[in-house]
Amino acid sequence: MSIREVAARAGVSAATVSRVFTQPDAVAVDTRQRVMAVAEDMRYTPHPVARSLARGRTGTIGIVVPDIANAFSGVITKAVQEEARREGAALFVSGSDEQADDEQRWAEALAPQVDGLLLVSPLMPDAALRELDATVPVVMINRLLEGIASVVVDAAEAVAHAVEHLHALGHRRIVYLAGPSGSYSNGFRLRGYREACARLGMEATELGPFNARFSAGVRAADLVLASGATAVLAYNDEVAVGVINRLFDRGVRVPDDLSIVGVDDTSLAEMVTPRLTTVRLPADALGRAAVRMLFDPLVARGPRTRDPLVLHADLIIRSSTGPVTSS
């Protein structure tokens, strides 16, 4: 049952139907009654946040991020905050320090206080997610689970572009610094990397797994040098910047001696010297889409048709990649 059918039957626009369930005060009483009657007649279940109207709205949505100090989480959170503000909702944030137990605890603490909950790259078990979604409408970012709304980035293609870029610059020995094993994001990056290497006839060398942090990149740099690779694809920008930092200390020039590509394109990528070539994940679009999914019936289309929304990434070429130098 779609919102458009309800709108057609009630003789109003879909936006009006949406308003009836989200901001009833903004709709004239007789229109509201007509829409409600039709909705009831057609057994239309309004969409996630509207569902929580029955519980009494708090005017607040919540987000649980893996690490509040992580730059990528910061960009998503900011986008979510702006979009939530536009909907007139306040945003409460909680961080999990990448521990599944904690994450579940914070999500459960937030659930009764909010009208909807966003989970960024959640690690908790499927059953826990389903239980949570039964309490409060949930939209996940970068995790897939049948029956729960989600927005995901498919970075595989853009990562493949990064490998092609390095190949075109003459690099034949590339190493991938893997992120946390089991994470959705690492899976996509790895797939793009392996496929592109296979297609181009290169060996897909992997190091790690590493934490998604600067300090892990510092540690990885020496391993990269020992591997004999001429180019590095890092799990994310923080790891890439850690590598650059250590290479500077070791007297290795970027990109003259070694090319480096990150993933994320947080502000960090433009802060380092040389500026980082990176795979840009649409963090902003991701955050906004997730909030809209939580609020907008036109996007969410009710609980039964929750196909994940898939966004794509782009390779942004800056100064940390260059032609391979024959030694």
Binding site: T58, G62, I68, A69, T77, F92, F214, N245
Partner: protein, 330 residues
């Protein structure tokens, strides 16, 4: 019945008692049994949620920060998160984007859903705090408000150390890039003006009225135009923006211009060259603020007692500061 009494009776730290009830697997079986026995004898109710419900509590604390993506705010939030968790509380964070109306709205929304509220560098009017404390205990970081407990990091001394350092390196013309009007900016300015007068330096202030990387990029050209040989930025993000712009313009750091930041967040160690920065004890401040707040939440301090905790700052010298051009190191 407090966790400390249980800890004393069992002969362990309060943190261990907390772990027994939150992450039992991390405590040895013998210790666990001793703690559980002590808790039982003292009729201590361990579960924070159960405890909260019994007393009409939520088991949550809240913090409103100026900018959720700012690195200094996130270090504070992380420390607050850790301390809150150790005490058995969940933490809700909200970012105001430095808008007073938004800040008050968020604080009000949170106040109703938490057992205590922290506000970092709040900008709302003094009178607003009365309305908030009527709902829930409040403590602040870096703001002085009558009747509100506060953790303060005055930076005048750190600024003095920074100017003295530049003076010793032979710099005689220094620029300060000022941030947004705030307690933090005011104490930096006080320190800057006092040191400049004392050392008889040529000092300039450029008011960026901003605290982000992009403002630093913009400031880079202004610094070059000023002819100064050294620049002190309101925070590390601005300093890194300056470094970035100077590199583009072909100005070498520290050979041509020395740069100093404030905060010493992770960013200072990510740049090349590594950034000389005044370290602010963000982690200590966050943890102390939670303890101060919980003293009110648990009724150990009178709600109106305006405790003030002042924390010191320290200059951390790295690679972006060097002797003035054309002057050999002293």
């Amino acid at each position: 019945m407090s966790i400390r009494e249980v800890a004393a009776r069992a002969g362990v730290s309060p943190a261990t008692v907390s772990r027994v009830f939150t992450q039992a697997a991390t405590v040895s079986a013998a210790t666990r049994q001793r703690v559980e026995a002590a808790a039982k004898e003292l009729a201590y109710e361990p579960n924070p949620v159960a405890r909260s419900l019994a007393r009409g509590r939520t088991g949550n604390l809240g913090i409103v920060v100026p900018d959720i993506a700012n690195s200094f705010a996130s270090v504070i939030a992380k420390a607050v998160h850790r301390e809150a968790r150790a005490a058995g509380y969940a933490l809700f964070i909200a970012g105001s984007d430095r808008r007073q109306d938004e800040e008050y709205r968020l604080a009000r929304a949170m106040a109703a859903q938490v057992d205590g509220l922290l506000m970092m560098s709040p900008r709302i009017a003094d009178e607003r705090f009365e309305q908030l404390t009527a709902v829930t205990p409040v403590a602040v970081i870096n703001r002085v408000v009558e009747g509100i407990p506060a953790v303060l990091i005055p930076t005048a001394d750190g600024m003095r150390q920074a100017v003295d350092h530049l003076y010793a390196l032979g710099h005689r013309h220094v620029v300060y890039l000022a941030g947004l009007q705030s307690y933090s900016n005011t104490t930096r300015l006080d320190g800057f003006r006092a040191a400049c007068t004392r050392l008889d330096l040529r000092c300039e202030e450029i008011d960026l009225d901003d605290s982000r990387f992009s403002a630093g990029v913009r400031a880079g050209d202004l610094v070059i135009a000023s002819g100064a040989t050294a620049v002190i930025a309101y925070n590390d993000e601005i300093a890194v923006g300056v470094l970035n712009r100077l590199a583009h313009r072909g100005v070498r750091v520290p050979a041509d211009v020395s740069v100093i930041g404030f905060d010493d967040t992770g960013l200072a160690e990510m740049t090349t060259p590594l950034l000389t920065s005044v370290r602010l004890p963000a982690t200590t401040a966050g943890a102390a603020a939670v303890r101060m707040l919980l003293d009110r939440v648990d009724g150990r301090e009178a709600p109106a007692a305006a405790e003030r905790l002042y924390l010191p700052t320290e200059l951390v010298i790295r690679s972006t500061t060097a002797p003035r051009p054309g002057r050999p190191a002293a």
